[in-house]
Amino acid sequence: METFIIQLLNGLVFSMLLFTMAAGLSLIFGQMDVINLAHGSFYLLGGYIGLTMVRRLDSFWLALLVAPLMVGALGLVLEYVFLRRLYGRHRHLDQVLFTFGLALIAADLIRWNWGAYVESVPPPELLSGQIPLFTVQFPVYRLFLIVVGVTLAVLLGLLLERTRIGAIIRAGVADAHMVSALGIDIHKVFAGVFALGVALAALAGVLGAPVLNLYPGLDFEILILTLVVVVVGGLGTLRGAFFGSLLIGMADTFGKAFLPEFTLFLIFAVMAVVLLLRPSGLFGLEGV
């Protein structure tokens, strides 16, 4: 029972990190039909920028603020200079291929700049303690991650459901051409959503660094899990990203605890079952 609850909490922690990734990926897809294969690279880049800031300025909180801003700005530039050229293409694939090329370059440059070693980032002092839970100690930082994840889910939900910008974004998911016809500059919306999505990935990178460490290759590990999350949950909806993250986060954590050799196999099995029953995911929009 005790191990079960500990694993449940660990699963929640990982789920919340996955949600932060999946929300961005899903938003970007819903808006412009692009699967961002560089999403894991933005995660890793965010994490490494955070690492540098923690080392140089000794402030985790500043890293948490600055890394997403920097990566978001980078996303804005990339969208404006490159992605925008590809929207009208007959072949939809080109946008995905572009982000794939980006992931390739990012992996190389990140390894060049930060090296190929596993880097660990200490959690901020305020949260570095442990609290007793049954007979073991549970890190405070992990509880903090759960709180942040839930808060983020609520905030994003409010942003999408209760604000004018959210209404425009939701309308863009339904029919971007129509939104454009109504006199809203859809390109600005696209750019904004892309920047927000990759900034969320970078935020996840900084938040996740004390738990998962940073190393080359993590970009694709995280990307694959995020892709599975959005396949299971359904693309284009926040609710899908949330429940997909819970399912996959738990499957991953419990798999690693009890069947370490077949964890990804287990996750793939979950995905296969969901696809058999509901080809567009648990909460997917029909016909996507």
Partner: protein, 335 residues
Amino acid sequence: MAAITSRLARARVRLTHRRTWWLVFLALVAVLYPYLVRPYQLSLAIEVLIFAIFAMSLDILLGYTGLVSFGHAAFFGLGAYLLAYTTLGITNNLFVTLPVVVVGTAAAALVAGFFAIRTSGIYFLMVTLAFAQMLFSIAIRWSSVTGGSDGLSGVTRPAMGIGPLSYTFDSRTSFYYFVLAFFLGSWWLLRRIVESPFGWTLRGIRENEQRMLALGYNTFRYKMAAFVIAGIFAGIAGMLLTQFFRHAAPENLYWTTSGQVMIMLIVGGTGTLTGPVLGAAVIRLLPNYLSTYTDRWQTVLGLTFILFVLFAPQGIMGLLRRFQERSEDREHSAN
């Protein structure tokens, strides 16, 4: 009018002649190649031929059927491991190993395809990627069976024949001919497939699946067949690479391998079969030249790829076609 027609006919004859001479020249170079170059360059040629088979197999899926698989390394790596198991455990005789690889990869493609082909577009891409990554994680983690991150080594080169009449392709030169035979065989078979009514049905599905459904085609079965064919040829390529390096590595299953073959295909030009061969040559040889100038060759490769996606989405074949049209125009206006 008649003058124009006859001039056109003459131009076409000239073009066919030119093509025949080119083919004769290429065949001569291919046959004499081991005697023209240094061993290292021969090794490169072997790798290029193997990756050309791999890239052509992906072209069946992506170029002809319009199914974007980002996990094609699954079958490449599976072919590699199946060959390694069979060679290490039973025999290196091609009459045994080839059927094992073909049947094994076909079976895996049937299972993966059963799930993947229910989905389409982006979902298909993600499901195939996840499938390959799952096989990779098994190869890495289940080390008692798969050799873990070391992979399986000590694989011998293939042999053919029975008993005393058996020949082992041990030397680099003989193995080059072995691979060349597989390359030509694959090229011929795949060419036959894409020019058959079946191949044209695949193109129909690529262009408009709804219409093909309305015409009464069971598109699921056609896509499945394409998926299995692509899987088998990818498996054969994986088999050849393992025989060449005498080693099956988990990297054969990794996303970078799927990515590399995708880049070869896009840079070469999809839907042409010749394109992937050119792409395989360029992408396999480029790092060799780049690495003398810079350590950041992967970045250069990525940039090259992005430039092709942005400015020449039809790949090298598209550029060549544009070039040819322009020179034909010039010929016409000169006449």
